[in-house]
């Protein structure tokens, strides 16, 4: 019996377990997936919790619900991957051998990387919304907040879901407007990037939205430390911003198990070929989702599109063939803009987000870089799509390759 081990049963690992199980004979291949936690969170939903749109219950299910019964699902912590010996060692002493390994350990927030951030005011007037704990704590805080200066601050690049902090300030603008205290809430957005986003056309559209909503942007702001006694953030080049409530995207890093295994870069991301999705260092290791260092968004849509490439390449590798499938870096993100509207971007390694219609060229129903009610419905409907189609490897009506048809270059 040959063996595939998948480390990590989040979005990427779950999709891959189901795809591999469908593609490989049960008599020849044993597939094992390892994870230390039993809960699967719908992470895109965390954004809505501070504003009371979703509750913890809406974004929480059990991992085993989504993984084929013909896959060994083991809840245990991995101590170390011994890639030279093709072994995975668990903290409980168990050792698993593999023929092929899929690393899908994702990335996590590390507030302790920023001096002063995770101290006595953590979850008092400083919050993140990338964890269930942070999102719920912020909801409780917002319910009674009477206004002041709200600062949304990105500490480091890359981070999960690059548009989420923008969505956050758009939704905050709408939330405080509805509560009738928008005039008492000043919203400031600080980012180490030079603008609202990295690519020109999208930055223009989003920058305009920020300005329309009276949200000030403070670009090229790279946080050195937080003074949580005096409520001030400091940048490396000597600038500072005062806050009453600080919302941060903490430093994101790959899992500690990657560092313990000596498989990562300085942020614990696994060096990975951006087209084949194979580890640069080991031929029988593949990497899917946020765990890799490929220059694509750390987002579920990327993991989903990449999984279509990866299954092809893993089958090639299993059959002793050259890897014939190439990932194009395709990402696709709804951007909530508040007041029941949303925008949508679709892009890849080479092509920046452009205006147009998606997924059916010229028809839509979704408008790329537009700001529409239909896009907002798409974002809300995606929760069901995620649980019922994406994780379970049911076919979605979209291509994994980005298409130029339906996009307007000028």
């Amino acid at each position: 019996m040959k063996k595939i081990i998948i480390v990590g049963a989040g979005t990427a690992g779950t999709m891959m377990a189901n795809k591999l199980r469908k593609s490989l004979s049960k008599n020849e291949w044993e597939i094992t997936i390892l994870d230390k936690y039993k809960t699967h969170y719908y992470q895109p939903g965390f954004l809505f919790i501070p504003f009371g749109t979703y509750t913890q219950k809406d974004v929480t299910k059990q991992k085993d619900t989504f993984i084929s019964k013909d896959v060994n699902l083991i809840y245990a912590e991995v101590e170390r991957i011994d890639a030279a010996q093709n072994k995975v060692l668990l903290t409980n002493g168990d050792v698993y051998n593999y023929d092929f390994l899929v690393i899908a350990t994702g990335c996590q927030t590390r507030p302790e990387e920023t001096p002063g951030l995770k101290e006595s005011n953590w979850y008092k007037n400083i919050f993140d919304f990338y964890t269930i704990e942070g999102a719920v704590a912020l909801h409780e805080f917002f319910k009674n907040w009477q206004g002041g200066r709200l600062v949304m601050s990105i500490t480091e690049i890359p981070y999960k879901c690059p548009v989420a902090p923008l969505e956050f300030v758009f939704l905050a603008d709408a939330y405080f407007t509805k509560r009738g205290i928008r005039d008492k809430v000043e919203i400031i957005y600080t980012t180490p990037l030079a603008g609202a986003f990295t690519k020109p056309k999208c930055t223009t559209v989003l920058g305009k939205l920020l300005s329309e909503k009276n949200i000030k942007i403070n670009p090229d702001f790279y946080i050195e430390s937080v003074d949580s006694v005096n409520n001030i953030i400091h940048s490396y080049d000597g600038n500072e911003v005062a806050y009453d409530c600080l919302i941060v995207v903490p430093v994101n890093m790959g899992d500690e198990v990657i560092a313990r295994s000596g498989l990562g870069d300085d942020l614990n991301y696994v060096p990975t070929d951006k087209n084949t999705l194979r580890s640069v260092a080991f031929e029988n290791i593949f990497v899917l989702g946020d765990a890799s260092n490929i220059p694509a968004s750390k987002a579920g849509s990327v993991a989903h599109f990449a999984s279509e490439t990866l299954i092809g390449n893993m089958l090639d590798a299993i059959n002793g063939q050259p890897l014939s499938h190439s990932f194009d870096g395709h990402a696709n993100c709804y951007i909530e803009t508040g007041f029941g509207k949303a925008s949508l971007i679709d892009f890849n390694y080479e092509t920046e987000p452009l205006p147009g219609k998606y997924p059916i060229p010229g028809v839509g129903p979704f408008s790329l870089l537009g700001n529409t009610w239909i896009n907002h419905l798409g974002k809300l409907a995606f929760k069901t799509m995620y649980w019922e189609f994406l994780l379970k490897d049911r076919k979605l009506p979209v291509s994994n390759k980005m298409s130029m048809t339906g996009k307007n270059k000028d």
Binding site: E156, I157, P158, Y159, P162, P192, L193, A194, F197, T198, K199, D220, Y222, E224, Y236, D237, V251, D265, D266, L267, P271, V280, N293, P295, A296, S297, K298, A331, F347
Partner: protein
Amino acid sequence: MTQKTYAGVILEVNEEGYMIEKNQWTKEIATAIAQEENITLNNTHFAVIEFLRDKVSNGESLTIRAIGKSGIVDIKGFYALFPGAPLKLATRIGGLPKPVSCV
């Protein structure tokens, strides 16, 4: 894409002024590009630039954090060398592409 002359060499640069062909880079070109940014290069500048060029040659992505761990300068020192937007300035002066970000 446009052509610019630095240190007597005609080079292709993109619309943001980044060199297209990193192998054409020389220290003299760096000095000339740095002048446009009002920076006078010293040995520490060049040590940081060499570090960045090695990383890019190895196919690694560039982060300010990695420079802080390089042993050449800490992050504050990196800002002092290339004020404002150090990674963007250091890559442009170092003849490297503008660092790709998370998207």
